[in-house]
Point group: C2
Chain length 268, copies 2
Amino acid sequence: VKRESVEEKRRRLLQKAKASVSSAYAGEEHAIIEAINSYLEMDKVKNLVFERLEEWYSIYFPELRISNQVTYAKFILKYGANKKSADHSGLSELLGDKAKDVENAIIRSIGREPSDDEYKTLSSIASLFVSIASMQDSLSDYIDRSTKRIMPNISYLVDTKIAAELLSRAGSLNKLAFMPASTIQLLGAEKALFKHLKYGSRPPKYGILYKMPQVANAGKHNGGRIARIYATKISIASKADAFSKRFIADTLKKNIESTISSNRNRNG
Amino acid sequence: VKRESVEEKRRRLLQKAKASVSSAYAGEEHAIIEAINSYLEMDKVKNLVFERLEEWYSIYFPELRISNQVTYAKFILKYGANKKSADHSGLSELLGDKAKDVENAIIRSIGREPSDDEYKTLSSIASLFVSIASMQDSLSDYIDRSTKRIMPNISYLVDTKIAAELLSRAGSLNKLAFMPASTIQLLGAEKALFKHLKYGSRPPKYGILYKMPQVANAGKHNGGRIARIYATKISIASKADAFSKRFIADTLKKNIESTISSNRNRNG
């Protein structure tokens, strides 16, 4: 047998390494991880831009109160150049039953109107804000579609965003499938867990799962228990998503519901 | 004389307060302050979005190296769906003499192509990034135009962005005009000054003015001196911008240049 030269060996090993990196990124899982990280980051981006927009427009209309940020930006795009031009029917269309309040605010406003040059720049911030919000919506749609495709069981048990976050924290579906339920329960609580181990502070009861209303609304004492119940079933669901590919989440969900209600009875 | 009722007095004082707030926001100065604050914040926004974009697209084309962020985003918009489709003339148009490097990277890339669904979402982030960059450009244009109009003397001495930042830190052109040169020199270095006063650390030599290449490139020993020379003339320029409205900045600039060069000679 002819022995491999160093150069041949180098090339072969490099090829192998490339192929393994390539296959690691081949799955759609990585796109989901990027999508959920982008989705979460867009909250920060939206806030940064909205703060600027609101502060700037306050020069011209400090009395304006619209709680929905996208509606606020759309108000600027529609009436920001000259708020006095706002008509009742247009305001009603944009603001619903808040139109009257805004009409009154326009009448008593102490703000001047922006110059053309000011408005041109201000309105470009407003339309950027609307673009960011709609981009976040399309990220959200993609996450919904892709998690239902790639991890149908987990995303049936918990919200698709939470499913994607669990995937992102675990690193891959395979890793998630091999995690014990107790680890899944604490995914996203790494900092608190570290503090507990190092400084002896109270151990965390949940990480990402706290974003579920069922956990968040359960109160101090029940939250941990409910998170554990979910984590146990998510662990089973992730094995199904990663390996058997069978849909078993409807049964799991019924299990969760009956476990929670029987626990409640026992404690009631 | 009929005495004012409490209600009448209340209304009169409220009216007066409103009028004074209203006039405080009447000037274009406030729009400039909002614009420069937005402009600076957009750097942060651009970085957040670009990090997401680059990390995501690295799944499909980890070998891509394009240092200009907008060009990177445009590459994704043009060829991200299928990088193998990139032709030499199109790449040259986008990348200039870097086209060859990218062509080679495409040939040896280990990344797969995105699915349609992945690309749809990814490209929406790319086009958002391009929008943010172009919005920042229009903010920049507005700041150029408006500072030249409102503070022609200061913006002749220093870059228009720095002029706007000085205005923003001072709060108004009037306040800036009443500031001693030593305060102007340290505008933007409030934190370091506080540390100096409280903990006895070394006093700062400059704040915003450090963004001027003339100051930044002057070295450790000269930077403070040059910042002081500029601050002295900015103080005079701000009085002209706020009160006399005469254009004296060309004389001031000649003064600065001769002071700097005579100082240099003395020390040389």
